[in-house]
Point group: C2
Chain length 348, copies 2
């Protein structure tokens, strides 16, 4: 057990503040990591403010973690001291259920251990995340960062990147297909970059014509304005797959007629109750609405390697640790292009 400097929420109403947190000691299969950068995910706001009623304080948010190895358990052989590594949204799972055996730890039937705010044997009884100088993680959940990628821009790949990459892989996105990415935020901007890199015709679907130029800069072949009824009608039955990254409840039914027969729309942003489902467009075209949650460890490493080959990172705004509360306020107003990343050297 060792102490480390972290930024921790004390309650739903007390902003994040400097804190000393006890970390577990480095066990035989553990890796100790000095955190260099940590992305700021909307989930961090929900958890630290107890929006979902499941907060445990003190809480150290952060699950888009980039750092360097500073300690290795005696049984860890595939990593070395000083190596650049990453940690994503979870740090443990049962390792024995059918999902874990199929490299889908994110769907562990016994429940994965989230990188923060999850029950664990760590001191304090809950996991602590990446808004911190240091983290200790089981080797199975530590990823290698390809050489040459900007480490700050790589941090958001651990959540926003894999959340969009995994469904693009599952629905076999490839050249010749037409993919719509709905919503241009932290997730959506990664969806556009990845779909484009996979060779699909990629169309940004947004309410904001003002986002068109930026969408094309990110890799979109075209932009479809979703409140232009004639434009939407003209694109009916044209899409093989829709990646819906809108982060709040919304009328998703309007997008379904865009899909070809047997097409799927995958929701990755808005978790929970949403609009009334209109089954009509599903029935008259055998279309599907699906969901997807981040990705497994094996697939996350594949995503990082893919991004290394294609030189893909997130578009970020680097902040100091003491700017986090203002960053949260700006995120709530969608005022960020496209992800805040904390420079952890600012925490001392």
């Amino acid at each position: 057990m060792s102490n480390t400097v972290s930024y921790a929420a004390q309650s739903p109403t007390t902003p994040l503040a400097h804190h000393l947190i006890s970390r577990r000691s480095v066990g035989p299969t553990d890796v100790q990591i000095a955190v260099e950068f940590c992305g700021v995910c909307h989930t961090d706001i929900h958890h630290s403010r107890n929006d979902w009623g499941r907060a445990n304080y003190p809480m150290v948010p952060g699950h888009e973690i980039i750092g360097k190895v500073t300690g290795l358990g005696s049984n860890v052989s595939h990593l070395k001291l000083g190596q650049q590594v990453a940690v994503g949204c979870f740090v443990n799972s049962c390792r024995t259920c059918s999902s874990c055996e199929a490299h889908m730890e994110q769907y562990c039937l016994n429940g994965f251990t989230a990188t923060y705010n999850s029950p664990s044997k760590d001191p304090g009884g809950f996991t602590y995340g990446g808004y911190s100088k240091s983290i200790v993680v089981n080797e199975h959940f530590v990823l290698k960062v390809p050489d040459g990628l900007d480490p700050a821009g790589t941090a958001p790949l651990l959540c926003a990147g894999i959340t969009t990459y995994s469904p693009l892989m599952h629905w076999s996105v490839k050249p010749g297909m037409t993919v719509g990415v709905i919503g241009l935020g932290g997730l959506g901007h990664m969806g556009v970059k990845l779909s484009h890199a996979l060779g699909a015709q990629t169309i940004m679907i947004t309410t904001s014509s003002g986002k068109a130029a930026d969408a094309k800069r990110l890799g979109a072949d075209a932009v479809l304005i979703s409140n232009d009824a004639a434009a939407m009608q003209a694109m009916a039955n044209k899409f093989d797959f829709l990646l819906n990254t809108i982060p709040v409840a919304h009328d998703f039914n309007q997008y379904m007629p865009l899909l070809k027969v047997d097409g799927s729309m995958c929701i990755v942003g808005a978790i929970g109750p949403n609009a009334e489902l209109n089954s009509g467009p599903l029935i008259f075209g055998r279309r599907s609405v699906a969901g997807s949650l981040v990705g497994g460890i094996k697939e996350t490493q594949e995503m990082l390697d893919f991004c290394g080959r294609h030189n893909i990172t997130a578009d970020i705004e680097l902040i100091r640790m003491d700017e986090i509360n203002q960053a949260y306020e700006r995120m709530i107003k969608s005022d960020v292009k496209y992800r805040f990343v904390i420079d952890m050297s600012s925490l001392n």
Copy 2:
């Protein structure tokens, strides 16, 4: 052009009544059929009462048609006079779009022609269905009835049968899989019979414990009572596929946690606005909600042949034509096991 005796709705409020309807003459690729039996589908009620605002009067409902060939166009060579044949939910499609070329006329991108109440070149300007002594249909849309099947019980296969068979095929239901059939009515009772015949472990999911014995008689291996929270919890993550046949808007979200990772629920009964979609169970398990509409002509013939090999027909209550209005009233109260079929010899 010839006249035939039909039962036609005159307006949303006037019950179905005896009527002389002009039929088109038998063209070179047409088949004239003397209707022996016609199943009564809930859609017939909606259309004849203009529930969907798309009624054209006079209207002759009926799209579960069994009869004998009484006339053949000069170019029709694969059928013969006196042969027992069937007609289902549609009688034409563009034959050239990608859906039609893939034997999925039900998803024709230019719109199929429904068996009744659809614009057509027939006298009157709309198609007339099976509540009639006679019908004339293009040969491509006429199906062969396997020897040995009871013709009255075969009629509902043309809608209730193919509506449940097609999704069971599309989602590759086979031995080793666990399938839930939700709702035990006209569609649900066919879903149970077909899923059982395909070799899947078949579980009837219903609110009514009173339906358990009948569900097992039809082929269900077990019955799950959906308002028993403990029973539902015990079956979480157990189902490969759910066939949802409930005919009205309902809270479908409660069924989603029953599905395994990557499982799908297909809605075939309730068309239109339904409950609010909760994306949680979709995201935490990559589950899907889909829809499906009847089946193509090739698949409908395969379904009839499958039913012939397994001696599967619908459980029906045979009525006279002049009992149709009472039958509608009983159907609205779900008071039928499980499909009304009209003996068309009662129409003179």
